[in-house]
Amino acid sequence: MLSERELERYDRQIMIFGEEGQEKLKNSKVAVVGVGGLGSPVAYYLAAAGIGTLLLIDEQTPELSNLNRQTLHWEEDIDRNPKPVSARWKLERFNSDIKIETFVGRLSEENIDEILKGVDVIVDCLDNFETRFLLDDYAQRNGVPLVHGAVEGTYGQVTTIVPGLTKSLHEIFPNMGKKGKKFPIIGATAGVVGSIQAMEVIKLLTGIGEPLLNKLLLVDLAYNTFDVVELR
């Protein structure tokens, strides 16, 4: 049941998907894997939307050069608070009606089952394909939807993986290497792509609209292009 306070807080979006939709968000647990450029807007908007439980996963601590895009981390967090802890501090003060869980560390084949247990949707906000494929394997094994996003420069891509219904990340990107080199990025790009990922989660959980199933959205903000490629 939604409280009076929640009904007021979420009034404008209940106009979109009803109290029933809001209940679904409240009863859901979403994992945000990577709390950086993409993870910041994803976690922020999912907290704003009233996702009942957010699980924030990252092993790093913010650096000064992260702050042009990782908007949940502030100067006071640099070299001090691990990203999930830094983000939790703000999000708990932003929305005290939701629960924020954290895991500070790296996902591995050994720990992923335990850490992601009970998660309804996984959001891929990572910066490397090695860990992405680990998430993909977990999603396929457990039938959990995975919202993929990636950015570089002014460009980004989003697709939503639903095991049994869509191609897996491995099938879509079979040739990705393990390179994790320093890439150009500006905050607004991550903001747009992360916001689209957050919307994918909301669509999956409430049933509104059409998630990017077997569709890859390609965005280039430098040239104002939004293209959807059919993956089937």
């Binding site: 993409l38 910066d127 460009y155 990705m176 280039d220 490629v229 059919e230």
Partner: protein, 88 residues
């Protein structure tokens, strides 16, 4: 035959245009088209496509649908090249 090639993200910057129409030999494959483009734009060869596995770094769609490199192209096709990105 004529096909339209669209360039996304850093390919667009490197080639200097978003799309162009090209006259290519009848019945070429996606891979053969990429070879033609590498000839046409050496910068793609040097900066984008990996040396060892020269197809590892490009995703291709044909008429809005994701395709493999052995697919044969037809007159009027629109082929889009987009790099996989991995940043977060």
């Amino acid at each position: 035959m004529r096909i339209k090639v669209r360039y996304f993200a850093r390919y667009r910057s490197l080639v200097g245009k978003g799309e162009e129409e090209l006259e290519v030999p009848e019945g070429i494959t996606v891979k053969e088209l990429i070879d033609i483009l590498k000839e046409r734009y050496p910068i793609l060869k040097n900066e984008v496509f990996a040396e060892e596995d020269d197809l590892a770094d490009v995703n291709v769609s044909r008429n809005g649908r994701y395709v493999r490199f052995d697919e044969v192209l037809k007159d009027g096709d629109v082929v889009a090249l987009f790099p996989p990105v991995s940043g977060g």
